[in-house]
Homo-oligomer: 230 residues x 2
């Protein structure tokens, strides 16, 4: 269920690197609606993709961790459909958009990997859409915590035993979950008071992963008797 980019994925993509780019936390990598012919891989740190409405409402589309690929979504010569910004100091591997084609031409293996990375990224957004569309606040928070924990844990040696880094503010969580800041806070505190998790000094600890997973209805197979379908 939880596919993650392996270290090998990262190395593979890195072999194509044109140059490297470091950004501090809270910086914009790609501006919405701006023309940008670059593609990126996140080598280090956290970032996120987002879209905004003209009155400022913001939706975070996905959180990006080391190994994630950035920028295929926009057509070759078009404008960025979403912005990307850093959550922490971050290092990106940069290459030109044309190299996506070069990549496919020169190495079908890498091209295949890219297709797969792209498809995987979509499934992350799918999960998020399920949450935002159909889960209530508690369930959304639980689902987000679990998914981010798993992704982050996979990037470190101890598998999250001592918690994982968690650089999101509650505003980020709210914007990713389609909730207001205030309600996010209240719900988060509620789960924390129930002893399901703890967020401390920029780290997330799972105290009762089972309960969180149950709440989120993750691993929720036994699929139900499906509703009549059309």
């Amino acid at each position: 269920m939880f596919f993650e980019n392996t270290v090998k994925d990262i190395e593979v993509v890195q072999s194509l690197k044109q140059r490297q780019l470091s950004l501090p936390a809270g910086e914009m990598l790609i501006l919405e609606g701006q023309h940008d012919a670059r593609l990126f891989t996140l080598l280090q740190g956290w970032a996120f993709r987002f879209k905004t409405l003209s009155d400022g409402r913001r939706q975070i589309l996905s959180f990006l961790l080391a190994g994630d690929f950035i920028g295929v979504q926009q057509k070759m010569a078009d404008v960025a459909a979403h912005g990307v910004a850093t959550l922490t100091d971050a290092v990106f591997c940069v290459f030109q958009r044309d190299s996506l084609w070069e990549l496919h031409r020169q190495s079908p293996k890498l091209g295949f990997d890219i297709t797969w990375l792209t498809a995987h990224e979509e499934s992350v957004v799918d999960d998020s859409l399920l949450s935002v569309g159909r889960r209530n606040a508690e369930e959304r928070i639980a689902a987000l915590l679990i998914v981010l924990f798993k992704r982050a844990a996979m990037l470190q040696a101890d598998g999250g035993a001592a918690g994982v880094p968690f650089p999101l503010t509650q505003q980020h969580m709210a914007d990713g979950l389609g909730l207001s800041l205030v309600h996010t806070n209240k719900t988060l505190r509620k789960l924390e008071r129930l002893g399901l998790h703890r967020i401390d000094d920029g780290r997330l600890h799972m105290l009762n992963g089972k309960a969180l997973a149950r709440l989120a209805d993750l691993f929720g197979d036994g699929r139900p008797a499906p509703r009549p379908l059309v």
Copy 2:
């Protein structure tokens, strides 16, 4: 902003066809959580991808029209992360999952196309996530109508002058928008009474596309002054 699969895309993919599959309306093509080693292209008709929670809440992830690619999201040997069902009688082009790799190996050009198709599909989900996360009911409906109209119009010669086929029930719209059936109905009627659109006998007519687009905040560039970011 609105990329669509061209007839050429369809032909390209079709050249790899292993066999063809016809399904009546309201049939399941892929069951959630079921192992399925096939990939598909939708050649004719409408379908949709969805996920459900164990208590039956359903979220439609995206609507599929002719030319859309189906099934890359699941890892090579894994279980389907989402279901797919038909909205109308539909014809699919079927091929085995292995052929995705074969495809890349034999034709980087096609492999590149697939990457791009996959990335494009993600941007559709991105748009949907923005709607469900941050637009109110009116705005969501407006956005959905416009997007589906554009996609459907692009598939017919008259560009939608006489309306486009619209096989969704209000339940489908609700499930795609993260709304309840009742509220979807009320909002839809409201927009219809305002003369923005009309849905008749399975066809959608745009009566005031400008107003709908304004409502949905589509084409909403001039991007706003972004909020402080991290």
